[in-house]
């Protein structure tokens, strides 16, 4: 139960005196089902990954219908996320995107305002990451591809993966082991360096367009 608050904050008119809330930024971690998104988030997060749920109401399709009664089913989409405090007042959140393609519209919400994305790929099922690559390319959100090296996976070079994914020279490809914190950290730093490069490139283009 909630205990009675011992100290009462000032009235709403004092809004200005409230200490500034930390600035929060986010990076998305996408990829096929079971590729290690939550493992990556957990490896670098300072907290155990938390889960939020979104309830979706679908008109029931294919459920055992009771004659003519319109059924609605509620689907729960879970998203795991972790946190990295960059400094006092600046916090980075890592969101794992829902694995199933039919939750695209959730991606729109998730990618709104995101700095960039990590697309995790599994060499045994490379095609699973195509939808995420397409999505971020269409949306113009910069991303890196992290190739999670499973023990029984095939041995490819980053260059071979890049060709297979047809991402051109744009997105960096990093081989990684998402269970390792150092490896997860490398994926993220590669992404942020890439974001800086993209940002500077855009600035140059803006200047030369003037």
């Amino acid at each position: 139960m909630v205990s009675k608050p011992s100290e009462v904050a000032g009235p709403a008119e004092d809004e200005e005196s409230v200490p500034a809330a930390p600035v929060a930024v986010k990076i998305l971690v996408a990829g096929g089902f079971g590729v290690g998104k939550t493992t990556l988030v957990g490896a670098v997060s300072e907290i155990r990954p938390l889960q939020t749920e979104e309830l979706l109401t679908d008109r029931g399709v294919g459920v055992d219908d009771t004659d003519g009664v319109e059924q609605k089913t509620t689907t729960t989409v879970a998203m795991d996320f972790g946190r990295i405090t960059i400094r006092d007042g600046l916090v980075l959140y890592l969101f794992g995107t829902p694995g199933q393609d039919r939750f695209w519209f959730m991606w729109d919400e998730l990618s709104f305002g995101a700095l960039g994305a990590v697309v995790l790929a599994d060499t045994r099922r490379l095609a699973d990451c195509f939808p995420a690559v397409d999505y971020f390319e269409n949306r113009g959100l910069p991303f890196v591809i992290g190739v999670n090296c499973f023990d029984d996976g095939y041995d490819y070079t980053a260059e071979e993966i890049r060709e297979a994914l047809d991402v051109g020279r744009g997105a960096p490809v990093v081989l990684c082991d998402v269970r390792e914190r150092a490896s997860g950290k490398e994926v993220l730093t590669t992404l942020v360096k890439h974001l800086l490069a993209v940002h500077q490139e855009q600035n140059r283009e803006n200047v030369s367009a003037l």
Binding site: V2, E15, P22, V25, T76, G113, L115
Partner: protein, 126 residues
């Protein structure tokens, strides 16, 4: 699990009170605020005792957000779906008990670069 209503559920299934009962059937916040997942929520006032429409879940949020929290953490820690938390936050905002700080929009080019460098430094220091 094979679907809703098909089996007897344990604690894993979550609270016995239906989510929409907490929001009194509302699916959208009373205010226009969209409450992005990383919008920061800060408690700025406590309700007068017996404020109509303020329930235990609202009080939980107020207690939690004495230190500013993002919407996603509020939902995760209260184990409530985002859609429900957004409605509750809308109520609190309507009563002016919280302040919502949206994620920084793309402001000046310099500040974006500065922000990215700070994030990079922070990650490298992990």
């Amino acid at each position: 699990m094979t679907g809703p209503g098909s089996q007897w559920l344990d604690d894993e299934a979550g609270p016995i009170v239906r989510s929409y009962a907490l929001t009194r059937g509302r699916a959208r916040p009373a205010t226009g605020e969209a409450f992005d997942m990383i919008t920061m929520v800060s408690t700025v006032a406590q309700p007068r005792s017996g404020s109509p429409g303020i329930g235990p879940e609202h009080l939980d949020i107020l207690e939690m957000c004495v230190r500013p929290q993002p919407v996603a953490e509020i939902a995760a820690r209260l184990r409530l779906p985002l859609v429900v938390v957004r409605v509750l936050l809308g109520d609190l905002l309507h009563h002016r008990l919280i302040v919502a700080t949206r994620p920084q929009p793309e402001s000046g080019t310099l500040s974006k670069e500065h922000l990215l460098r700070e994030v990079l430094d922070g990650l490298q220091a992990l």
